[in-house]
C-alpha cells in the first residue's frame, strides 16, 4: 500500500498566504489602490509585504487584519477614515476565504478518513481471506494425509490378497504334483530293478539258447543297446523326477507367503528358494551369480522377504535387454547388519525414474505387466523389518538395490 502524506488538519491556523490563495490578488490590489492610493500594501506578521509594494512613508498607518481572534496581517496605507473602512472590507474578504478554505480542507480530511476506513476494511477482508486460504490449504493437506492412509491400507490389502491367492495356488499345485511325483519316483526305482533282472535274464538266454533265429531277432531288436539305454533312460527320469520334487518343495516354501507369523532362519535360505522359483523367468536371459556370505539366524517374516527378493529379481530380469546379461546377488554381515545387494547390468534408469520408483502405482512397465506396487510394498515390508532399501542406478550401466536388515535374535 502506498504511504500517503498526512492530511493537514482542517482546523489548523491559517496564514495570510493561505487566505489570499482564494482571492484574485491583482484585482484586490487594484481596488485598494483606487480607494487608498498607490502606497497601500498588506504586510504579514513578520512585516514583509504580501500584497502591494512595501514602503516606509511616515504618514501611513498599520491596521491589524483580525481573523478569528488574532491579527494575521496588517493593512498599511495613508491615515484616513477610508483606510479603517477598507480594513473591515478586507477582513470580510479574508473571512470568506477562511470559511471556504476550512470547508474544503474538512472535506478533504473527511474523504481521506473515509478512504482510510475503506482501506482498513479492505485489509481486514484480506486478512480474513488469508485465514480462509490457510484453512483451505490445511484442509487439503489433511485430506491428502487421509488419502495416503487409505491408499496405504488399500495397497496392503491388495498385496495380502495377491499373496494369499498366489500362496493357495502354489500350495494346491505342490500338493497335486507331489503324489504323482512320488509314485513316479518309486515306480522308476522298481523299473530299474526290473531292468537289471532282465539284463541278467538275457545273458542267460544268450548262453543257453545259442540258435541262429534267436541271434537274428536279438540283433534286429538291438537288445544289447536297448538294455543299456533303458537303464540310462530310467536314470535320467529319476533325476528328472527328483528335480520336479525339488521344485515342488521350493514352491511349497514360497507358498508360505501368506504366512504372516515370524520365523527364525538364515536369510540365504530365502534367497535360494526365490532363485529356484525365478529360474524359469531368468532362463537364457541372464547369468545368475550368487555370492552369499555367512549370515546369522534372524527373526523375520520369510514369506514377506521372499516377495521382496522376487520383486527385485524379476525387475532385474526385465531390465536386461542385451546378451550377456548378468545378475548378481550378494549377502553378508556388515557392522552387525545383514546386507543383501542385487545388481544387474541392465538398462538402468534415469534420476527422474529413480526418484519415483517407490511411489505407489508408478510403473515403467507396459499396461498389464505391472501394478506399480511391487517396490512400494517391498519398501513397506523392509520398513516393517526396521530395515532400509535403497537404489542406485545409471542409465545403460545397471541398477543395484541394497537392503539392510538388523539382526533380530
Amino acid at each position: 500500500m502506498m504511504k500517503e502524506t498526512p492530511i493537514a488538519a482542517f482546523d489548523r491556523e491559517l496564514s495570510i498566504d493561505d487566505l489570499l490563495k482564494g482571492v484574485n490578488r491583482e484585482k484586490l490590489l487594484q481596488a485598494l489602490r483606487s480607494l487608498l492610493g498607490e502606497s497601500v500594501c498588506i504586510l504579514n506578521m513578520a512585516g514583509d509585504s504580501v500584497l502591494g509594494e512595501y514602503n516606509d512613508r511616515i504618514d501611513s498607518i498599520r491596521i491589524p487584519l483580525t481573523i478569528q481572534l488574532e491579527p494575521v496581517a496588517y493593512l498599511q496605507a495613508g491615515d484616513s477614515k477610508v483606510t479603517h473602512s477598507a480594513t473591515i472590507l478586507v477582513e470580510q474578504i479574508l473571512k470568506s476565504a477562511e470559511r471556504y478554505l476550512m470547508a474544503s480542507n474538512l472535506h478533504v480530511e473527511a474523504v481521506h478518513a473515509d478512504y482510510e476506513a475503506l482501506q482498513k476494511k479492505h485489509e481486514a477482508l484480506m486478512d480474513s481471506e488469508e485465514k480462509y486460504k490457510a484453512l483451505a490449504q490445511n484442509l487439503e493437506q489433511r485430506v491428502e494425509e487421509q488419502v495416503k492412509t487409505i491408499e496405504n491400507a488399500q495397497r496392503q490389502l491388495y498385496q495380502a490378497e495377491k499373496l494369499a491367492s498366489v500362496g493357495q495356488l502354489a500350495a494346491g499345485i505342490a500338493h497335486e504334483i507331489n503324489n504323482p511325483v512320488g509314485f513316479i519316483t518309486s515306480n522308476l526305482a522298481t523299473a530299474q530293478n526290473y531292468v537289471s533282472n532282465i539284463v541278467k535274464f538275457s545273458e542267460q538266454i544268450q548262453k543257453e539258447l545259442n540258435g541262429p533265429v534267436l541271434k537274428r531277432v536279438w540283433d534286429e531288436c538291438d537288445i544289447e543297446y536297448m538294455l543299456q539305454d533303458f537303464n540310462e533312460l530310467l536314470k535320467e527320469s529319476v533325476s528328472g523326477a527328483e528335480r520336479v520334487a525339488g521344485i515342488v518343495s521350493d514352491l511349497k516354501d514360497f507358498s508360505n507367503v501368506d504366512r504372516t507369523e515370524e520365523a527364525t532362519l538364515n536369510i540365504n535360505q530365502i534367497i535360494h528358494s526365490v532363485c529356484n522359483v525365478a529360474t524359469n523367468q531368468i532362463g537364457q536371459k541372464a547369468e545368475l551369480e550368487l555370492a552369499l556370505g555367512e549370515l546369522p539366524l534372524t527373526r523375520c517374516r520369510p514369506g514377506h522377504l521372499a516377495q521382496v527378493f522376487l520383486n527385485i529379481l524379476l525387475n532385474a530380469v526385465t531390465a536386461i535387454k542385451k546378451a550377456a546379461g548378468k545378475i548378481q546377488i550378494e549377502s553378508g554381515l556388515i557392522n552387525r547388519e545383514i546386507v543383501i545387494r542385487v545388481s544387474d547390468n541392465g538398462k538402468g534408469m534415469s534420476a527422474e525414474v529413480m526418484r519415483r520408483i517407490f511411489d505407489p502405482f508408478y510403473t515403467t512397465h507396459d499396461v498389464g505387466e505391472g501394478t506399480g506396487l511391487g517396490l512400494t510394498v517391498s519398501r513397506d515390508i523392509i520398513a516393517a523389518h526396521n530395515g532400509t532399501i535403497t537404489v542406485d542406478s545409471q542409465e545403460d550401466t545397471g541398477t543395484t538395490f541394497t537392503i539392510i536388515l538388523p539382526v533380530k535374535e
Partner: protein, 221 residues
C-alpha cells in the same frame, strides 16, 4: 488535542458539540456567542444549508490572555448531525479536548440519541480519543417542547454513568451556559497537567472558567 505554541505564547483548545441531527448544537453555539463576554470573541462562522442544517461545521472562537501573557484560545465546533455525514463528523471530532453531547429530549428522538451516542464512541476510537477519559457532558435539550422524555426517566438512565447530565432549552438560553461551564471544569485538569496553567501561567480553575464567561469578573487584565 490542545495545541501549544510556545513561540507565539498561545494555547488552542478544541471543544466539540456532538449529537443527532437538529438536536440544537448550532443553537447552543449561538446562545454562547450572545451570552459569553470573554476578552476575545470572534465572529461565529456557520455553514448552514437552506434547511437550517449544518453541512460542515459551525465555529465560534473565544479567548483570553493569562497573567503570564499566554493567549488561551477556545475553538467551539459543532458537527453535522445527519447520519450521512459521518466522515465529516469524525474529522471535526478529531483532536477534540472536550465534548458536549446534545441530545434531543423529544420522545420520538430516543433512538436517534442512542445511535448518535454510539457513533460518538465509535468515532472517538477511530480518531484516537480515549472515550473513557475524554471530558464529556451530556445535555438533554429542547425541554421547552411538549412530548418529551421526563427528567426522571432521563436521570434514571444517565445517573448511573460517569457523565454529568444537564437539561436545557437552548432556544431560550436555559442550561446552555451551565453545560459549557461544566465542560470547562472537566477540561481544566488535563490542561493544568500538561501546560502548568496554575504554576506557570497563573490560572486556577475558577479563573479558567470565569475568564470565558466575562472579562470583567476575573480581574485578569
Amino acid at each position: 488535542m490542545a495545541e501549544y505554541d510556545e513561540q507565539l505564547q498561545k494555547l488552542t483548545i478544541k471543544l466539540v458539540y456532538y449529537g443527532p441531527a437538529q438536536s440544537g448544537k448550532t443553537t447552543n453555539l449561538m446562545r454562547l456567542y450572545d451570552m459569553l463576554r470573554p476578552e476575545l470573541k470572534g465572529d461565529i462562522m456557520t455553514m448552514e444549508t437552506k434547511n437550517d442544517r449544518t453541512l460542515f461545521f459551525d465555529l465560534l472562537p473565544i479567548g483570553f490572555r493569562a497573567p503570564s501573557g499566554l493567549l488561551i484560545k477556545f475553538k467551539l465546533f459543532t458537527v453535522p448531525g445527519q447520519v450521512a455525514h459521518d466522515g465529516t463528523r469524525k474529522a471535526v471530532l478529531s483532536r477534540a479536548d472536550g465534548v458536549v453531547f446534545v441530545a434531543d429530549s423529544q420522545s420520538s428522538q430516543s433512538m436517534n440519541n442512542a445511535q448518535s451516542f454510539q457513533n460518538l464512541a465509535d468515532n472517538c476510537a477511530r480518531a484516537g480519543l480515549d472515550f473513557e477519559s475524554l471530558p464529556l457532558v451530556i445535555q438533554f435539550n429542547k425541554r421547552d417542547l411538549p412530548d418529551i422524555v421526563s427528567k426522571d426517566e432521563v436521570s434514571a438512565r444517565w445517573d448511573k454513568t460517569q457523565w454529568s447530565l444537564f437539561f436545557s432549552s437552548a432556544l431560550n438560553g436555559d442550561g446552555v451556559k451551565e453545560t459549557f461551564v461544566e465542560l470547562l471544569r472537566q477540561v481544566y485538569p488535563a490542561m493544568e497537567r500538561r501546560f502548568e496553567l496554575h504554576t506557570k501561567h497563573g490560572i486556577k480553575e475558577h479563573d479558567f472558567i470565569m475568564s470565558v464567561m466575562t472579562s470583567t469578573e476575573t480581574g485578569v487584565p
